[in-house]
Symmetry: C2
Subunit: 449 residues, 2 copies
């Protein structure tokens, strides 16, 4: 049996390693156009920032390790076509431009996502960067070290993580975000607080332009001129486009593999596409949101790993379901930890829930302890059923772990009243005697009446 | 309407403050034999250790604040009898030795717990201390400052927290624990790790004697001689008895108020005793363990606060239930955070569950990040139903928050398979892409077959 995996970053690498362990007699191949496999793409902003110095640390399993375990790695070999009737793929060797056909018994598409490049971006300039592959990360760090002023287009997770990295390296940064605040995946009341924190904790190196977009990038190397739609213009040494990503689905579409409403590859809970023996997982695959039971596309490393595990079990003849996602995520901006799970209030309203919410700020531990800090928690519930729909938290330290506590409740449609009953650990260095999770639920209960 | 509360530390203070808010026209009184009300007893070890210098910081609501809000505080007034037929209490003024009777409409017993004093302890010596009231804490700190060598009898939460405080103050400490390891409320595989950590991280100031008890304390002031049952003897400047606590139920028993099987006051979910208009809450009251649905007695500040809230609502004519506890707790020993929720494996086996467990040690965040540390998680499940019964975690930072994540699952009898589906937040500074919670559940699932 020959199992071929297209793409080898998080999901693809996981499928390969686990499938070979489960089916030692099978032939397992990863084909990728990339120069590397099995690396932590999520770690690149911290490499760029200087949390660690050697990018090799981002490699999870080396090519040698894979080969030693019997997984064949084919770098710089781009799969350009899937011939589903013949169960073959067509491969282009990016070094030699040669072509070849290879048969598969089972095929796993793990092609990931690619940055969305707005029209204006002159992608010919070497001073315009994106961050997706490890090569991008290495190049971006080199570029940063030679720049004094950097422009970031976009205000999502990667954008904010890169602001941290650049400010840590004493670079001046201008961030341009089309929404009125950064991090539009949070509710505005929370993202406002994050943006205020960023502006107050960036050593006066950060400028944020909201509600505007870049209309043009011109200028003569090495200096670029950025011009926004509202007519704002400035010089910059380097531009990073971080305006979101889209799933890589071209060869799938070409092969007749169905996409979902989100534009990512539609899969069932076994990670099977509409075509027999072809699976998809990771950032190229659509997910189900477990709260709304509706299709969702949130490309994250944690989900990719879990989907890779489920795919490997099913490819190997086992039976395992991936139940979906809760929209949980976290990022850091300096000492601030920003996290969410479930639905935001705006998402809940959009999906037709009668959403109600409270936002509470409270100490993270007993007031007399050293290093006491505030944590802010937003809890969203459905007015009719009192079911908790989601939570957002910001704070230093372990705000994300408080959100994770809610995540488990979301799995089982816990109500606000039930959350009040939870017995959380308490000691003065770690929480208040009534933790913010419970206080917030108590206040939300009163509001629900 | 006159509402009288006996005891005013955590539960009693909470009942008083909330009842007065809910029933502004009522008369609310706290009677206590203590010199203080409304303080954080849990914070005393950190005051003793020096995390903060002024014990007044432990006061949550001052007597003046209570009085301003219309709650009457009667310090050093011990309630010696409850006359249930007449709805009166008999009070002894500890300053004057005068007696008085006061009528009540509703009575709340919040008398707390008191240290268990083993027979050997010569409680006449001023150099033998316990830690329960704020006065105890103030005296214990003074004693510590004048001691070079301190003996701690017992190895529970308070004992371990006091070791930390004493070692931080460069005192030599000998701890004597009758069990083979400290922290017998944890499973032995976890408490062994804690004891090893303590011995390795106490600047060579700590000696632990296990499986032995003190048989005699003699000697001439200011030096005491401690002699153990196994014949070990040594000199010490000061002894702290931290061999556990028992509920204060004497006046309740005298009044015909029923105790539960644990020896604490039996209450229903509204915190009502068997006698009309008499409630009990906090450390003197029995609780229900929500996993086993059996009576349990775990005296903790977090539970006392929650019970106080529920009591106040019911006293005020509302309807609120306290559903019970999960046995969740946490303590710190230097950089180690030690926590549990639900049942330990030994508790589960004792209760008749067919318990199975795994213990996993894993990094707490991506391996390439600075400050990466290990966290150890033990997960206990029922072999038949696959229901998760409990968790124990040790590690630096936020190990307890991972235990809290399990707590919410325990509320709804989550299974090992369901826990695998939880979508936890991931970013390299905060976790690994597959968090230890999920890895552990995956391994436990394999073990369950």
């Amino acid at each position: 049996m020959r199992i071929i995996i297209i793409g080898g970053v998080a999901a693809g690498a996981k499928v390969a390693a686990k499938t070979k362990r489960m089916l030692p007699d099978s032939e397992v191949h990863i084909y990728t156009k990339d120069d590397y496999v099995s690396y932590s793409a999520c770690g690149m902003p911290y490499y760029i920032g200087g949390d660690f110095q050697d990018w090799h640390q981002l490699i999870i399993r080396s090519v040698e390790e894979f080969e030693k375990n019997g997984v064949h790695i084919h770098l710089k070999k781009q799969v350009t076509k899937i011939l589903t009737a013949d169960k073959k793929i067509m491969i282009k060797n990016l070094d030699t431009d040669d072509w070849q056909f290879v048969d598969y018994d089972k095929l796993v598409i793990a092609t990931g996502a690619t940055p969305f490049i707005p029209d204006f971006a002159n992608i010919k300039s070497k001073r315009i960067y994106t961050l997706r592959t490890l090569n991008d990360g290495i190049a971006l760090k080199e570029g940063m070290l030679n720049a004094n002023h950097i422009t970031i287009i976009g205000g999502g997770y990667i954008a904010v993580e890169l602001v941290e990295a650049f400010v840590k390296n004493k670079k001046k940064v201008t961030l341009i975000e089309k929404a009125p605040y950064v991090l539009s995946m949070l509710d505005e009341d929370i993202s406002t607080l994050v943006q205020d924190y960023m502006l107050e904790n960036s050593d006066n190196l950060l400028k944020i332009i909201n509600s505007d977009v870049v209309s043009e990038i011109v200028g003569e190397e090495p200096v670029l001129d950025v011009i926004t739609k509202k007519g704002y213009g400035f010089e910059t040494d380097m531009v990073v486009v971080a305006s979101g990503v889209k799933p890589v689905v071209d060869i799938a579409v070409d092969a007749g593999i169905a996409l979902g409403v989100t534009g990512a590859i539609k899969v069932n809970s076994r990670m099977e596409t509409n075509i027999k023996d072809i699976y998809a997982c990771g950032d190229c695959a659509e997910k189900i949101n477990m709260i709304s039971n509706s299709p969702s596309w949130v490309p994250l490393g944690s989900t990719a790993n879990k989907e890779g595990r489920v795919t490997a079990i099913n490819v190997s003849g086992g039976v395992e379901d991936f139940e979906g996602i809760l929209g949980s995520s976290v990022l850091r901006y300096r000492d601030l930890n920003i996290s969410r799970t479930g639905l935001t209030e705006k998402e809940a309203l959009k999906l037709g829930f009668d959403a109600v919410s409270v936002v509470i700020t409270k100490r993270d531990r007993a007031g007399y302890m050293p290093d006491v800090k505030n944590v802010t928690l937003k809890l969203v519930a459905d007015k009719r059923s009192h079911r908790i729909l989601g939570a957002q938290a910001i704070g230093s330290g372990d705000a994300d772990k408080r959100v994770n506590t809610i995540s488990v409740g979301l799995l089982r449609s816990i109500t606000v009243e039930e959350l009040i009953d939870v017995d959380l650990t308490y000691a003065p260095p770690f929480s208040t005697s009534i933790d913010i999770l419970i206080s917030t639920a108590q206040i939300l209960k009163s509001k629900l009446g």
